[in-house]
């Protein structure tokens, strides 16, 4: 009767996070607990979850095919914990979120992280839907909590409406998949579709609509419209978190969804994914050229990076997955470093690019580290971003997807313009106003610690390749 209860023993980090979720929402109601330091407890919970996740081994198919834990899910879960801890540090140095709401913020973050963990281990369509909603709904709330930007409620409303629409479309596509195959687990769907339905309109419709919901999370192109508004108006630490963590979770869900396909279906799936990747890269790079707000510009840049990562997903083999996992830690460092530098430099919450004029004179070390992060985002050689992009291009080349490589090359060159224009504003332009320092050196150290591995990995990236090699589905 309760024969799935032992399965919980294989999900210790999930249990820790669920307990944390309960704690953060109920803790405020109990008078004695209200005085405990919420941040310390949150970080301790993340550390415990990471340790438990690292001590797991083997691959398990849990809860009647709903959840699949393997080295793929374990390594990504550890990345989510690291990202969340870094974002908590960023929360400290930004006053855009009300510190009175810390318990609720950490509760929402716990729910988000739990949802991301389920997105990475989902092997059933309904689990994927539940996990996507578990990630989306707290992010709707977190985007709305910016007390310095009155537009954050509007941005959150746009995000909610768009997310509900995308979920509806995804459920419609999933209902088609269920109708065609009679099952909702990923493996049974591909077996059920078989070879006779490949190329039929309903095949493309069903998989395309399901892909719609996943690409909403990733902010891939037909479903990216919420991204610039939400990123611009959200509190900057939350923007940094959203630009990294749910995006990676969406990509892992895509990788796992498409992993078990039959060889005969591979070409059509690669075709669909490459079209999405091409359009995403091109739109993300070209739309960023005209932006005047730095958070919007970084939003479009993260859309373009999602396109590059989808290039690695589109090749649908282990090499592609390893290239994606190689790029993701680099992407995390680049993005978090860039956002932390912006938090430090933005005074009075003015995020227009012209407000950063001449920042190098008062903060040379910070702007240098920011320049490393930005040039790495652009893919310039001595830095790690170049190596990451190189691996993504390599796996696409080996599969023979030349239009995608062409589009990726064009969008990389185009993106160089707006990344370098950011540096030009900070380094060459005259100071328009004084930059009053925030009084603490920790943000500078943070950005430098993000930039140093980018320099190191750009020259010697073998350790990261060895780590990426350990990411295997079902092992």
């Amino acid at each position: 009767m309760f024969n799935t209860l032992p399965h919980l023993a294989h999900l210790p980090a999930h249990l820790v996070l669920s307990l944390g979720l309960l704690f953060f929402f109920l803790g405020k109601t109990i008078p004695g607990i209200k005085k405990l330091p919420a941040t310390a407890i949150f970080i301790a919970m993340l550390a415990l979850a990471a340790a438990l996740e690292a001590s797991e081994t083997g691959s398990h198919d849990l809860f009647f095919g709903m959840v699949q834990t393997d080295s793929f899910s374990r390594l990504y879960n550890q990345l989510y914990f690291i990202v969340s801890a870094l974002v908590v540090v960023m929360l400290h140095f930004s006053d855009e979120m009300d510190r009175e709401n810390d318990w609720e913020n950490y509760g929402l973050l716990s729910c988000l992280i739990l949802g991301m963990m389920f997105m990475t281990s989902a092997s059933h369509l309904l689990m994927a839907v539940i996990a996507i909603e578990m990630v989306s709904i707290p992010s709707y709330l977190l985007v709305a909590l910016n007390r310095k930007n009155p537009a954050s409620k509007e941005a959150s409303m746009k995000y909610i409406l768009f997310g509900s629409f995308a979920t509806g479309v995804m459920l419609y596509g999933m209902s088609f998949l269920f109708g065609m195959t009679g099952s909702l687990t990923f493996a049974d769907i591909w077996n059920g579709l078989g070879s006779e339905s490949v190329g039929t309109p309903i095949y493309y419709l069903a998989i395309g609509f399901t892909l719609a919901g996943m690409s909403f999370k990733v902010a891939a192109v037909p479903f990216h419209f919420w991204c610039p508004d939400a990123y611009q108006a959200a509190p900057t630490p939350i923007t940094a978190f959203l630009s990294v963590a749910p995006k990676v979770a969406g990509l892992t869900l895509m990788m796992r969804f498409f992993a078990d396909h039959l060889p005969v279906q591979g070409d059509s799936l690669t075709q669909m994914l490459s079209i999405v990747a091409i359009v995403t890269m091109v739109v993300g790079s070209f739309a960023a050229l005209k932006q005047t707000d730095i958070k919007r510009l970084l939003a479009y840049s993260s859309i373009a990076h999602a396109g590059f990562l989808m290039m690695g997903v589109a090749v649908l083999n282990t090499d592609g997955r390893q290239a994606v996992f190689f790029y993701i830690p680099i992407y995390i460092l680049m993005n978090l470093g860039a956002f932390m530098a912006i938090i430090y430099l933005a005074q009075d919450h003015d995020y227009k690019i012209s407000a950063f004029n001449g920042a190098v004179k008062s903060n040379p070390l910070l702007v240098t580290a920011f320049a490393v992060c930005t040039l790495s985002l652009a893919g310039i050689p001595p830095f790690a971003g170049f190596v990451g992009k190189f691996y993504l291009f390599k796996v696409a080349m080996e599969k023979g997807l030349y239009p995608m490589i062409l589009a990726a090359g064009i969008s990389t060159v185009v993106s160089l313009y707006f990344y370098v224009s950011l540096l030009k504003v900070m380094i060459i332009d005259q100071e328009a106003r004084t930059f009053s320092p925030l009084g603490s050196k920790v943000p500078v150290v943070f950005v430098s610690l993000c930039a140093l591995p980018l320099v190191f990995l750009g020259l010697y990236w073998v350790p990261l390749v060895n780590w990426a090699d350990k990411v295997r589905l079902f092992q």
Partner: protein, 135 residues
Amino acid sequence: MLFNFGVALTFLIVMAGFVAGNLLVQLLLSPHNNYDAKKMPYDCGEEPVGSGYRQYNLRFYLVALVFVIFDVEIAFMYPVTAVFKDLTQDGWGLMAFVEIAIFVLILTVAFVYTWSEGGLDWIREQVKRPTSPRE
């Protein structure tokens, strides 16, 4: 299989056509006799006083929101109770009870949170906190 989709499509078209046809007939055949009193909003026969547009207090929305959430919870509990006797006879009684108890427990956490944070108070105390002027 495609034939069945065709049947569904025909059904949709006939449905839409029927509605459109009825409206068209009404447009052509009904008498047009517009006078001012017809266009005023209906207030059970009384004359409306003042403008209908005003800003409502947010507490009504909060009450409605909490109601909807717990009403849906009740709606989920009804099927469980309806088949509970049959489930017990098949030996699934304890499992069903634990499952629905977990569902109610999760919503009870939300209930405790909203009660303690003053979401159910009709009149909330004004907390004066120093906030920066909005831009």
